[in-house]
Amino acid sequence: MELFTNQVLSGIATGAIYACMALAVVMIYEAIDHLNFAQGEMAMFSTFIAWQFMQWGVPYWGAFIIAVVLSLFAGIAIERVLFRPLGHASILVHIAGFIALFAIINSVAGLIWDFTIKPFPTPFGSTPLLGGVISSHQAGMIAVTLVLLGLLYLFFRFTRIGLAMRAAATMPESARLVGVNVGWMIALGWGLAAAIGAIAGIMIAPVIFLEPNMMGGVLLYGFVGAVLGGLSSPAGAVAGGFMVGVLENLAGTYIPGVGNELKLPIALAMIVAVLVFKPNGLFGRVQVQRV
């Protein structure tokens, strides 16, 4: 039993990574009804920016804030410059755009900072807690994710801009009719997603180390978490992310033959399993289609 609780706790700790990423994924999904495949690369780039500022002597939290703010503006800019002009082109074209963005960001990051693995500092230290099950950094990560979720909840529930964004995301035409500029709300959604991605990357880097290809697997698990959570709520995404971490750990512990090599097929199996039985995710809303 103790092994089980340990694995669950440890899974929650690793799951914090995926939860963070899932949060960013859902933010953009709410705005554009699609998954941004370049989200991971954007987070990676933001993390490198933070790292660079730290190399230039800026203290951790200063670099953190700079990276997050820059990412906010970068996200808005990318939407306005790249995806707004694509407008009503088919979804396939948008996906091609995400893929192109992925390639460009990955390549540029590799050029500027090369592909050697770099360590990334954590403000939480790495003292083992709870008898070695999780480290203080992992605890810090969980805390940051939950705080972020709380802030987002407050933002959307109690601010006027949050209200306008929710209106633009759910019913864009009605939103226009009350004067909301839907285009800018979408851009803001991108900005928020980029900022959250930056926070996710900065939290994740100490664990998986900083290099241009660090986010691939994380993004996939982030997608799984977001989909598990139903793609319709930030809270669901975070819960989904934690669940993925736990499931991954439990699978590794209790199913024989499952080692590191099978992590990715496990992710596949999880997605397909959930979606077969609950196509709208575990907490998702049933989409009613008008005939």
Partner: protein, 237 residues
């Protein structure tokens, strides 16, 4: 008295299909005008054209300024509120949030709060349901909410698309009574599109009848209402 809204030679298109063929009319400030006609005549298209939601050629002037190239959200900010067909309620949000959204372009917090109270006075049923999800309200309640939401803008011009649709007769009377009150007390100019011609003609000062994208009859509402030929040919009663 200059016209609040001036429409000249308006053509509107859905892709390649032309829905309006050279409409011209104007709305006097403080008046209630009704646009009548059968299904598919172009009434909804006219309202959408005013808000730049369809492709148009021609002139639309609001308070003397052309708004044909202005974006929908900017037109709203100029003071034109549009209650669309189907009401456009934000179904996933509660009643109070819907009202707040109506005023999202305004900056005066205190006035917004008191306006919300005023809406609850005008439509008491909304106060009872203020924290309920708007999508769960009945048709009549959603219509009240939609009108209230539009009024939160403190609009100069209120456009309504078939407010009586799907509502019980008593409820419709209520809605129209409120519209009359708003027009008299708050001096809001109203353009209401209706299939239920009788009630609309009782409320309106001026009436236009549209058929296949053109205005075929116009005049004071009283005259149109009393003209049996027009009623039988175009309005079905």
């Amino acid at each position: 008295m200059t016209a609040l809204l001036n429409v000249r030679d308006l053509h509107a298109y859905y892709g390649q299909i032309q829905a309006l063929h050279g409409l011209s009319f104007s709305l006097q400030e403080g008046s209630v005008t009704t646009l009548l006609g059968a299904n598919g005549a172009g009434k909804t298209t006219t309202l959408r054209a005013i808000c730049n939601m369809v492709r148009t050629t021609g002139t639309i002037e609001f308070e003397g300024r052309s708004i044909t190239r202005t974006s929908t959200e900017s037109i709203v900010k100029l003071g034109i509120a549009h209650v669309p067909q189907g009401r456009g309620t934000f179904t996933r949000m509660n009643v109070e949030e819907n009202l707040q959204l109506g005023a999202i372009t305004r900056g005066d917090r205190a006035a917004i709060a008191s306006d919300i109270e005023r809406m609850y006075d005008l439509f008491p049923v909304l106060r009872q349901r203020r924290l309920q999800q708007a999508g769960l309200l009945s048709g009549g309640e959603q219509q009240m909410l939609a009108v209230a939401r539009a009024l939160m803008l403190r609009p100069r011009l209120l456009l309504l698309d078939e407010p009586s649709f799907g509502l019980a007769p008593l409820v419709v009377r209520d809605v129209f009574r409120v519209l009359g009150d708003i027009n008299r007390n708050d001096k809001v100019t109203i353009l209401v599109v209706e299939q239920n011609a009788q009630l609309a003609l009782e409320l309106a000062d001026q009436a236009y009848v549209i058929e296949t994208g053109e205005i075929v009859k116009s005049g004071p509402a009283v005259e149109i209402a009393n003209n049996e030929d027009i009623r039988k040919s175009y309005l079905g009663y």
